[in-house]
Each structure stands twice: as structure tokens, then as C-alpha cells.
């Protein structure tokens, strides 16, 4: 719908910083006959928080794993901090943070011991600008694990575990941080706390953050910029406001007439309501006009791209979040 606009929009922010922290051109990922990613272009600048949104199977995880250097793309020019992640050396790893979803690793360790241990690897890469690692005590307080610091990880709750995952991701004071669905399984309280944590990180350290989610509210709250991935491409790129404004949204008009409820969807709510009032000189009750939310427009956008994709792809090949 406005895929064409994304290029020009991205172009606006480019002159500020000639070398983006993350730069991807023509990223393709092919599994057998099926293209999961068919030419993704994106760039993220220093200190930006960018959210990658998209339905399951759109290739969000694949994209982020390519950027982390854990997956070989079929084609494309990829640079993170000026280096192709696939051929990056170990010192590059010191500058990149990855938040993994823990499962049962290090179950018998305590959060304090694990952070001490993993942090130690970064000490050799400490600089005046970025002292590494972040002291364990400071980190535990930052993610709110102070009270559980000496428990076995096995005994942590799901939310505590994810906060530990975030702590591990930032123990090396990374310049760029990747998070793949960091709040999956969070309750609203934990989610709110996590959002505050991300804000603190970006404010304090000028950390560049790329995260995936399928929670629109989260994307809206966290991101400077939202990228929508559908049908193997970035189909939208902009701030939450910009996206909402640029989509010619449907609106929903509801009213009651003679005790009966009516609902009507329309492109032009104003004209419709004017007509409606003119048609019913004796009046209607409970008139209500609801603008489509970002969620509605997102869903519509994604549906349009998926429909287009299904038209020339055997359905059976559309696999999970590969």
C-alpha cells in the first residue's frame, strides 16, 4: 500500500548519520522452493529503537538471527557495526548484545553467578567510553532481580527468567542490542517494567535496539520506528503516528434506530454520517464513529500481502517461524 513510501521516509533520517549501525540490502532467505524473505532492506541508526512487526512465519526471527550472525542468508548485503555478522570476529561479539529466550540452561546456577561468569568475557573489551562488563550488582538492580540474585535459576518465575535473559543480553554494555519477542509470556505488570527498562537503556547508553514482537501496543510504546514485515518484505516503515496517519483507515459507524442496532464500515465516515442524518430526519440514537486502530490497519495490511503471496505459493510450504 505504501511500500513505495518507505524508501523515501528512510532517506530522510539518513543524512544525520552516514553509517547506520544496522544496514541490510536485498536480504533473501530461501528454504527449498519457498522464499521466507524475498528482498528485505532496512537500516537502523545509532540510538534508534526499531521494532520489527509481522505475523508468525513472516521471517522476523530469521531476519534477527541473520543480523546476530547465527544464520546464513541465501543472499544480501548485511552489515552490523560495519561488519558482515556471518564473518564477524569475537571482538565484534563484545559490541553486540543478544537477548535469548532461556529455557533450562544453567538451571542450577544462580543469576549472580551466571552474570559474573558471562560478564567476565567482556572485561578484555572494556573501554573508557563503555566500561565492560556492567557490574553484576548494578545489573541485577536494573532488571529488578536483586531479591532473586542467589536463587537457583530453576526456581525463577517466567518473568524473572526473561529479565535475567535481558540482563545477560546487556551485561557487555552492547552498542547494539537484538531482542526476539522479549515479552512473550509476560503479564501486563512485567511488560510495563520491561518497557521502562528498554527506555532506561536507550537513554543511558545510547544503545541501538532492534526487537521483534507481534504486540502492536508494545511496538507503539517502545519504538522510534516500526517496520512491518509481511510477504517476505518490509511493507511499512515509520513511526506509529506516521503509519496510522498514512493508512486510509476504515471507520466504523454505529447507531440505533427504532430500538435496533446498526453497524456500518466506511472509508469516509463524515460523508456517511451526513447522509445518515439526512436520511433520518426524525433522528437516530447512540451515534458512534470509531476510527480504525493501528491494529486494524496492521491486520488489513498484512492480510493484503499474505493474500498476494498465497496466490503464487503452495500453501503447504508456508511453514512456521523458520
Amino acid at each position: 500500500m505504501f511500500a513505495g513510501e518507505s524508501a523515501s521516509n528512510a532517506g530522510v533520517s539518513a543524512p544525520d548519520d552516514p553509517a547506520p549501525v544496522i544496514q541490510v540490502r536485498g536480504l533473501r532467505m530461501r528454504y527449498g522452493e519457498h522464499d521466507v524473505l524475498s528482498g528485505v532492506d532496512l537500516h537502523v541508526h545509532r540510538g534508534e529503537v526499531v521494532t520489527l512487526l509481522g505475523p508468525n512465519g513472516a521471517g522476523k526471527t530469521t531476519t534477527i538471527e541473520v543480523l546476530e550472525g547465527f544464520r546464513r542468508p541465501s543472499a544480501g548485503d548485511i552489515e552490523v557495526l560495519g561488519v558482515d555478522p556471518l564473518h564477524a570476529d569475537e571482538p565484534w561479539r563484545a559490541r553486540v548484545g543478544v537477548v535469548l529466550q532461556s529455557w533450562r540452561d544453567h538451571a542450577r546456577w544462580s543469576p549472580r553467578d551466571l552474570l559474573d561468569h558471562l560478564g567476565a568475557y567482556y572485561a578484555a573489551f572494556s573501554t573508557a567510553e563503555r566500561p565492560r562488563p556492567v557490574p553484576t550488582g548494578e545489573l541485577l538492580d536494573l532488571v529488578g532481580l536483586g531479591d532473586a540474585a542467589d536463587q537457583r535459576i530453576l526456581t525463577l518465575s517466567g518473568g524473572q527468567r526473561r529479565r535475567l535473559d535481558v540482563a545477560v543480553g546487556i551485561v557487555g554494555r552492547p552498542e547494539v542490542l537484538f531482542l526476539d519477542e522479549p515479552t512473550a509470556g509476560f503479564d501486563p505488570q512485567a511488560r510495563r517494567e520491561f518497557h521502562e527498562l528498554v527506555h532506561r537503556l536507550t537513554d543511558l547508553e545510547a544503545t541501538t535496539v532492534l526487537l521483534t514482537t507481534h504486540d502492536l501496543a508494545e511496538a507503539e510504546r517502545l519504538a522510534d520506528r516500526i517496520l512491518i514485515l509481511a510477504g517476505g518484505r518490509i511493507v511499512a516503515d515509520g513511526s506509529a503516528d506516521a503509519l496510522a496517519r498514512r493508512i486510509r483507515a476504515n471507520a466504523e459507524v454505529r447507531w440505533t434506530h427504532d430500538g435496533q442496532r446498526f453497524v456500518h464500515a466506511t472509508d469516509d465516515a463524515t460523508a456517511y454520517v451526513r447522509q445518515l442524518l439526512a436520511d433520518h430526519p426524525r433522528g437516530i440514537e447512540e451515534l458512534e464513529v470509531r476510527r480504525a486502530s493501528l491494529e486494524d490497519t496492521y491486520l488489513e495490511l498484512v492480510r493484503a500481502h499474505l493474500d498476494a503471496e498465497v496466490a503464487h505459493t503452495p500453501v503447504g510450504l508456508v511453514s512456521g517461524e523458520a
Binding site: 538471527e65 569475537e90 529455557w103 567476565a120 568475557y121 573489551f125
Partner: protein, 284 residues
Amino acid sequence: MDVRVRAFMIGVRRGWHEFVIGLRSPQDQSFYVLMGLGVLTLLWFNRDDVLEGTTLTVPQVALPSLLAGVVMFSIVIGPAYALALEREDGTLLRSRVAPYGLHGYLTGVGVLTVLSLVPLLVIVLAGSAILFDGVVPADAWRWGLTVLVLLLGILSNLPLGFAIGSLVPRIQQVTTWGMLPIIGLAWISGIFGEMAQLWGWVQVVAQLFPLYWLGHLMRYAFLPEAAVVGELTGTWRIGWGIAVLTIWTVVGSVLASLLVRRMSRRQSGAAVAEARDQAAQFVR
């Protein structure tokens, strides 16, 4: 200090930490005790038998052989199991995220494996010294020799463990490709008794692997000269033993490092998530 040396030291501390955690856990404790008791029981049932042509008792001859078996078993199965399990559960991936983290992780696995041998050896040796007469060497030079042989045994078997751990697709296959072959190998390598009854070609096969030679060298370190009549050629072949174990050490290390690298490259969060989903299905 070089970053690699630092990572190595972090790995040593990691291995030590995991060892200490293990010592405190009932699960690891019962493994050590059961394994030790198993060996002692085997010796106990043959305590009155005498080796033909000598005055040596069966426990005397069998103890060094069984120790060789215990060393190979734990040195191979330890890393094989650790790599297969920790690749699936994300431990390995977490280590890869840190700079030189993979170096540290692999060092940690190696250190943990070697340390885990200590309680086992202590239980078996102390138990044997209490239960049987004259089975444990009394002079210091034999102990020195034993330590050297153990070291060689550890170095030659460790790469095999890493290789198996890298190759098996899932943790369950460690039994198929690790445990069962080792038990078979122990059988043909004279760990549980004399090899002379076995066919000639089986003896040849056994001598291609490190276990036979580890047993041979252990017996050399533990037993008096007269015990040599129980050996295949009726002689001590020390040079051969050292040569075979050294070749396994060198070739194994090269091969294992290639396999570990290949395996770790294939790891990703998605792979861990997939393993997690599959494990969840098993539970249901």
C-alpha cells in the same frame, strides 16, 4: 593477558563451578556412588579367584583394567552428553553470544569432565584398598606412573567425547553412539576379563582403539612383572601404548575441533526453540 588465555581461565572457573554445583546435588552424588559400587561389586564376586600361572588374584588384575574402563567411559560420555544436552537447551548458544565464549564453554566442559573423574577414582581406589589385599600399589613411583597413564588416557579420549557430542543429532543418541560402543569396546579390550578367548581379528580391532592400550598401561603401572603372562603377546608394549594414545590425542583433537565448530555454527535461537517445543510434546 591474551584474550584467549583469559577465556580459557574463565572456562576453567566455569568447569570448577559446575563441578562444585554437581558435588552438592543428590543426582551427581548418586551417579558417583553407583558407578563406584558397581566396580567394587564386580571385584568382590571374583575376590578368591587366582589368575592362571601366577599368584595374582583376579581383583588385582581386574582393578587397573576396570579403572581404564571407568576413565574412558566418563571421559567420553561426559562431554558427549554435555554437548548434546546443552546444545539443545541453549547453554552453548548463550556462550557463543559472548566474545570467546565458545572457547570458555568448551574449556569448562573439559575441566568438568576431568574433575568428575576424581570422586569416581577416589571411591573405587579407597574402596578397593579397604576391601582387598594388595590391589592398590604401595610405592610412590607406581603412583607417579599411574598419574601419567591417566593423563594420557584422558587426553586421548576427551576429543572422542567432543566429537560424539557434536555428531549426535539428539541427546537420546548418545546412548546409541556413545555408551553402547564403549561397552562393546570394553568387552573386546579385556576390561572385563581375558582377551585370549576372542578371535584374532577382534583382538586386532581392539588394539586400534585407545581403551585396550589404556588398560595395558594401567596394568603395567599397577601390577608386578609376573602379571605380564596375562597380556596378549606375553610382553609389556609400553612404546606401542604411548604411540597409539598419542595418535588418538592428536588426530582426535583436530577432528573434534572441526566437528565442534561445524556443530556450533548451526546453532540458533530458532533451533533451541524447536528443541524446546519438541521436548514439550514429549511431556504431553
